[in-house]
Symmetry: C3
Subunit: 156 residues, 3 copies
């Protein structure tokens, strides 16, 4: 499909979210569809990037029991009570902050999930399958989180 566009649009937005639990999947889909509509982009990309190293962006189904399953497989891949050198205060010297949490497991889980997802925009909407929803995947909450959304494309 070719698209005729008359203007070229760049729109950058930051989304702020206060997460409430250690592991949490927060559905961003409706908010992102609104941002695309407000930007007036007909055809283009929306790149959604978590600005954190213990919270990821993922796309999957929003079914509450499935989100519990995701937490379980992530716990198995990088257990909360595993041994992480990152959490070893007797040897670590880099990037230390006051009151830092034990969160080696959360970094490892975020590594597997990835920090961003680039989505297609067609006919003024994010292209998603029937069951696809976009989530911020919190792995070290509760925390204040920030997401960078850059939409670029052609408008009417």
């Amino acid at each position: 499909m070719e698209t005729l566009v008359s203007t070229f649009i760049y729109r950058h937005t930051r989304i702020l979210i206060a997460t409430e639990r250690p592991t949490e999947f927060i559905d961003l889909t409706d908010g992102l569809q609104r941002l695309v509509a407000e930007a007036g982009i007909v055809t283009g990309y929306a790149n959604i990037h978590s600005l954190h190293t213990t919270a990821a962006i993922v796309v999957n189904e929003h079914e509450p029991l499935l989100l519990e399953d995701f937490a379980s497989v992530l716990e198995r891949a990088a257990p909360d009570d595993g041994r992480y050198q990152h959490d070893n205060g007797t040897v670590r010297t880099v990037n230390l902050t006051p009151g830092e949490r034990r969160n080696g497991h959360a970094h490892c889980r975020a590594l597997f999930l990835g920090s961003s997802t680039c989505l297609n925009v067609v006919d003024g909407r994010l292209v998603l399958g029937r069951w696809q929803r976009i989530f911020l995947a919190e792995q070290d909450g509760p925390r204040a989180r920030e997401i960078s959304v850059l939409m670029i494309g052609g408008g009417r």
Copy 2:
């Protein structure tokens, strides 16, 4: 490298695939290279997005035994016969469909793999390393699958 382009091109295509096995890696590379050539894009992006929550897009080598190894590590990360709440018909109430399959494991595997990949287009071709091929990674087949490919960039 700077590129001089005289036109700006948007091209969206959907690829339909009927998968044949529960786990299957379907090589999309040649078809995608053709789409890029047909679109006439010299420099730009091709964002390839699976419209499903149990089938991913991945880039790796097309060596048949290696694809078996991938199936094995994914089986270990999220076993087919594991216990998934998503498959627990006695407690689940959300997004139920008639004749739904047990597929909690497939969602978990797709979560690890990711639903999309953005590739660079340079000199009219997808930039790929010697061994890199692009796959639809089916985790819950056989099914009818659909992939959204949005190419944006400059043409001659």
Copy 3:
């Protein structure tokens, strides 16, 4: 935020890296920020793609002990001494090269990590959180590695 741009820029660069160890996380962030500045892109994307099937692009914190933790969880997900059909010289017939290493584990780890990341550029810089750094994640070094970076966006 809307951005006014007067020119449209495409810039493709290849980064060459000689890795030194079997598993290694090489911080590309400062070099990539320089590339974005040199390209003169104010608002746009930088898509960073490893041209290899045993080395990935990831975003996380640059804390040396944490990088050891990453190596450990990847080792658990796809052990170096596991059995991979890809390494079975008695049955494999495809893509064989002289002096090929046993590297089934490295392919599997790269599969989980992903070959590329698309980042947002705003105000002439890659948008990154406080702790976020971009790494080439070598899983089968030492090797000569190549990364494709395509920056597209509006300049002043």
